[in-house]
Point group: C2
Chain length 341, copies 2
DNA sequence: CTGAAAGCGCTAACAT
DNA sequence: ATGTTAGCGCTTTCAG
């Protein structure tokens, strides 16, 4: 019904011009206090709301930052998003979220939409399928700041906020060794994704440090889903010399294995120890509760956003490529606490 | 660096006008096929992308729909969002998500942002704190379609997509009775939220139907968090005549209770049966796995979005207030399967 | 089938 | 301290 009120409506009512209104609304110092007050009062009364579409078109900024994640229902990503939102809000920015479900096609669609809607920056964690990067290069070609978090495109010279995954899994595996486990298997993910490659590396390093020979049979690649965990553990336990502990690059996959083991009569942590990765909330719900690696997801989100704002505030000259690596933290729970022998 | 290319750039290159380009790009039938081809080829070549800010300003539509949820990391809401996105994408719309963490202040901020950015519609599931509705009325006053899902403002005459929560909990509680449980307690949520009031009602109805007297001591109001579940069960088990089953209006709260019971020596489902609500993914991870009520979250999202599109496509004359109620589904798992006596 | 012209609502030089 | 003016990039009558 009622058309929405514009600054020129307000201008007419106060017998002044749109520029004055525009300035007054944004508290421009050159507008008299009395005028500012009159304007803001009228605005409130008439229920005026800036039309961002117009303001943004004019100013060339959308005041929006686009975030691309594989899954929004993972605690890890949900927390990252919260962190991003928190600092974005402070700067007056909106956050629009796009979930790819790990599909590269969806990822491309997201980018297209973001470019069309002129987001001022893109923060992205790439999907499992993502092994080509034209769509991401596109963003940079358009001169839109691109920042990676967690799962990054390493060939890119964009900034990235990541965990030290090598360290995280090093700690996880070392912990298992400390608890007396001898044959530790790993659920590893796609090698072209940095985090999974690094988690495997940490595993290798930990074994190496203790002089334990790597048994390739204990390195299982899968897609890290719950179901994959079930299938993989089934295979592992068929081995002539099965593992006595599992280090999983994902909590979901760890739980799949845990479940299968329990229903098949294995005792956890007595017979088999398990460590997951990401510290999803459910890891503390299940029983035995699952030892996992916390990634400081909220901070990761905050840093990612902060990096973006630092970037656009810098004179674009001193574009310091300060990529950041956050130390993860081992959270020890029941699934790996074997009484020492 | 390179300014982004506009339709007038393309127009110049082809010695034509912006109107022609604009039409050609959108496959307007009055433009010759050959011209359309020339334009789309050049556009591709020059890497042209519509500037939605400009297009939207002009057309008065933002092609964006705003979604407000309490928590994005809940499977229920994440799935609703997926459903919304799915149908929105088909219609060429973007979805922007705002999470309130159940805070009314955040909810208000979301609305403000949405109104400023001129979303074409708002889909909302209100927070636990929300007991006043000025901010939501505001949306309708601005003539922006407002659609509720799951947690609704009942005083509003807006459309809403909900579950039949009375039926859902009726089934859950009846199932417990069928399994031989006699004293069933309920974890109930804030009474001003439709879903929690309805879930309590279903509980009452189920007991009533079997002629079981209601014991007020078994009706526990809390905020339905994990911690609340722990506290509440602790209190319940102190009763002279403690319950032998729990019907929880939330999976999280149910798990809290489940955990406490297990660590305190109670056997589930033998000593105590538990049923949760929402069918969060972790309910099948934990042990015993948790019987719960599935809410067809994906469908709820799809319907919500569909309702929005139906609405804006109708000539705004036949605004049929067709609110929809979806039947939930009881998912029976271990936590409630007591061997019949 | 294509062009000319107006304008969506706002901001920001450049006046005054 | 305020007003004038000129667009931002696109869509859409209205004319040919």
């Amino acid at each position: 019904m009622a058309k929405r009120v514009t600054i020129s409506d307000l201008a007419k009512e106060l017998n002044t011009t749109t520029s004055t209104i525009s300035r007054a609304l944004r508290n421009h110092p050159s507008i008299s206090i009395s005028m500012r007050k009159k304007v803001s009062e009228l605005a409130k009364q008439r229920n005026y709301q800036v039309n961002s579409m117009a303001a943004n078109l004019r100013s060339g900024k959308s005041m929006t930052i686009g975030v691309i994640v594989p899954h929004i229902n993972r605690d890890f990503f949900a927390n990252v998003i919260s962190g991003i939102e928190e600092v974005a809000k402070k700067e007056g920015y909106s956050v629009v979220i796009c979930q790819t479900k790990d599909k590269i096609e969806k990822e491309k669609k997201c980018i297209e939409t973001f470019l069309r809607t002129r987001v001022d920056g893109v923060l992205v964690s790439v999907g499992l399928e993502t092994d080509t990067f034209d769509h991401l290069d596109q963003v940079k070609k358009m001169n839109v700041p691109l920042i990676f978090f967690d799962r990054v495109q390493e060939s890119s010279n964009s900034m990235s906020i990541v965990n030290d995954d090598v360290e995280g899994s090093f700690q996880g595996v070392s912990h298992l060794l400390d608890e007396g486990y001898k044959r530790i298997a790993i659920f590893a993910g796609p090698e072209h994704i940095n985090i999974y490659r690094n988690r495997k590396q940490g595993y290798l390093n930990a074994l190496d440090k203790r002089g334990i020979k790597i048994d390739k049979k204990l390195i299982v690649f899968n897609n890290l889903s719950y179901d994959a965990g079930v299938e993989s553990i089934k295979e592992l336990m068929k081995l002539q010399n099965p593992p006595d502990a599992i280090f999983s690059s994902s909590d979901y996959c760890a739980v799949g294995a845990l479940h299968w083991l329990k229903t098949n009569g294995y005792k956890i942590p007595e017979d088999i120890g398990i460590v997951g990765y990401s510290n999803e909330k459910f890891t503390s719900f299940i029983s035995p509760s699952l030892t996992s690696i916390d990634q400081h997801s909220l901070e990761m989100g905050r840093y990612s956003a902060k990096t973006f704002f630092d970037l656009i505030k810098s004179d674009k000259k001193d574009i310091i490529l300060n990529s950041l690596s956050i130390n993860p933290k081992l959270i020890i729970r029941e699934s790996s606490k074997r009484k020492r022998i």
